[in-house]
């Protein structure tokens, strides 16, 4: 669906009262009782600034840290390399909850909330890919080498 719909129009509407009337033939009209000037940008609260995503740039070498931060809906570093027997710790720094869930199902955290951490010890060499089960577009990798 996505490629077919991606280039099409999206309308935005919001207000104290927005009426959208849809007829059986598909015709649609929208009425709104509020009348705020479209140029009244002064009424818009400032958006909080956020730090850039902590995910690795494409092609970045795996980091050798044992700590992974979850920030701005990304694992950072997105790829880490540790020796067998090492423990990797993930810490959620977002206000939203995330999980650390192995794609294979071999390990999974509970939903983490802001400030909470999850640790897993990797005993066998190999490449372990994982994701957030709430936001499945968040991906990470742990590469475990021979100790």
């Amino acid at each position: 669906m996505t490629s077919r719909l991606a280039g099409r129009r999206i309308l935005w509407a919001s207000g104290s009262l927005v009426l959208i009337t849809l007829s059986a033939c598909g015709a649609a009209t929208i009425n709104a009782s509020s009348t705020t000037s479209p140029s009244a940008s002064s009424t818009m609260p400032p958006m909080p600034m956020q730090t850039p995503s902590s995910s690795d740039p494409p092609g970045a070498a795996p980091a050798t840290t044992n700590s992974v931060m979850i920030q701005n809906y990304a694992f950072g570093p997105a790829s880490v390399t540790v020796k067998a027997g090492s423990t990797v710790t993930w810490t959620d720094q977002d206000e939203d909850s995330h999980t650390v869930t192995a794609d294979s199902g071999a390990f999974s955290s509970q939903p983490l909330t802001n400030g909470q951490a999850y640790s897993h010890t990797f005993t066998a060499p190999g490449t372990y890919t994982y994701h957030c089960s709430i936001h499945p577009y968040m991906h990470g990798t742990v590469m475990v080498t021979n100790g």
Partner: protein, 326 residues
């Protein structure tokens, strides 16, 4: 909780400005071309309003409760259990939404919660939502899951709310001549929302016996149109389900998930997302990530809300009325 009587705040203003600028540049062309596609919208003074004769012929009288043949309410994204500065009291704002429904002049035929009932799908959170939903003045409360409700699999959701549903919680029903589908697109996710073959087969079977003049209303959590894939705001196999709806004269798809109002018309199908009762999210691509947005004091209620839906058998018109929390 501080109140905000302003009609719009924050993200919504920005969204309206985007629309207004678009119309300023080529408003007439848009009206003309959309009329040909049976979608007749425009913007006046920064807010959406009627354009063309189709609306006037529909027989709808927005806001006139006496003329409708079916009235129901949609709520979404209560995220019970969330703790953060974007809304330190999501239980309180959900209760305010319930109070607002209970204060309506007419009791809705049913209330549909379109997912993310809970924030982390714990038994306590599900129990609280169930108890709160039971306090709504309506004969029937309906729910479907969001991805926050199935974070560790759908079983606890199904144990709490899944009685009488199929698969991972989908179902259909008829009311006042309208056919309703409640779909689940938050299980077995890879990047976007996902319906899955079993559910798509269900949609095909479910619709096969209906006349093409039957109005359809479809509920799901994640939008069935592509909003912003980078943030997972779309459903990867929705076109397959929508293909079985193309023959129907009127299809209305009502979603949650993105915590803001967005609408799109694709032929006979109109898509509408709605505000949360919990907290706002950024406009697509307007922030590095879809983090909950903390607004200045007093502005939260202006971006949270409920949606009233009226169906008018005369003209088969559906009217959506979004009200922010008071």
């Amino acid at each position: 909780m501080a109140e905000n009587k302003d009609p719009i705040s924050s993200l919504s203003v920005e969204g309206r400005q985007l629309v207004a600028r678009e119309v300023d540049r080529r408003g007439f062309l848009k009206c003309a071309s959309w009329a040909g596609a049976a979608a007749v919208w425009t913007v006046s003074g920064g807010v959406l309003s009627a354009c063309g004769a189709a609306a006037l012929q529909s027989g709808a009288r927005p806001g006139s409760a006496a003329t409708h043949d079916l009235f129901f309410v949609q709520i979404s994204d209560s995220h019970i259990g969330f703790k953060g500065t974007a809304n330190p009291d999501v239980t309180g704002t959900f209760q305010e939404a319930i109070n607002q429904i209970n204060a309506l002049p007419q009791s809705p035929a049913f209330v549909m919660h379109t997912g993310d009932l809970t924030h982390t799908a714990s038994a306590d959170q599900f129990g609280m939502v169930k108890d709160m939903l039971a306090s709504i003045r309506t004969p029937t409360t309906l729910v479907l899951p969001g991805e926050h409700d199935t974070v560790e699999g759908p079983q606890l959701y199904l144990d709490t709310f899944g009685k009488g549903t199929k698969g991972e919680g989908w179902y259909s029903f008829d009311h006042a001549g309208v056919h309703f589908l409640s779909l689940v697109n938050v299980v077995n996710l890879t990047n976007l929302g996902h319906l899955g073959q079993e559910q798509i087969d269900f949609v095909q079977r479910d619709l096969s016996g209906l006349g093409s003049d039957t109005p359809l209303v479809v509920f799901a959590h994640v939008p069935l149109f592509s909003v912003y894939e980078k943030w997972g705001w779309g459903t990867d196999d929705s076109l397959r389900a929508l293909s079985f709806m193309r023959r129907f004269a009127s299809v209305t798809v009502l979603n949650g998930h993105i915590h803001q109002v967005m609408s799109r018309v694709e032929g006979n199908v109109s898509f509408h997302t709605m505000p949360a009762t919990a907290y706002p999210l950024p406009a697509p691509g307007k922030a590095p990530a879809p983090n909950p947005v903390t607004l200045p004091a007093g502005q939260l209620h202006g971006v949270l809300g409920i949606r009233e839906v009226q169906y008018h058998a005369t003209g088969h018109a559906i009217t959506l009325t979004d009200q922010h929390l008071r």
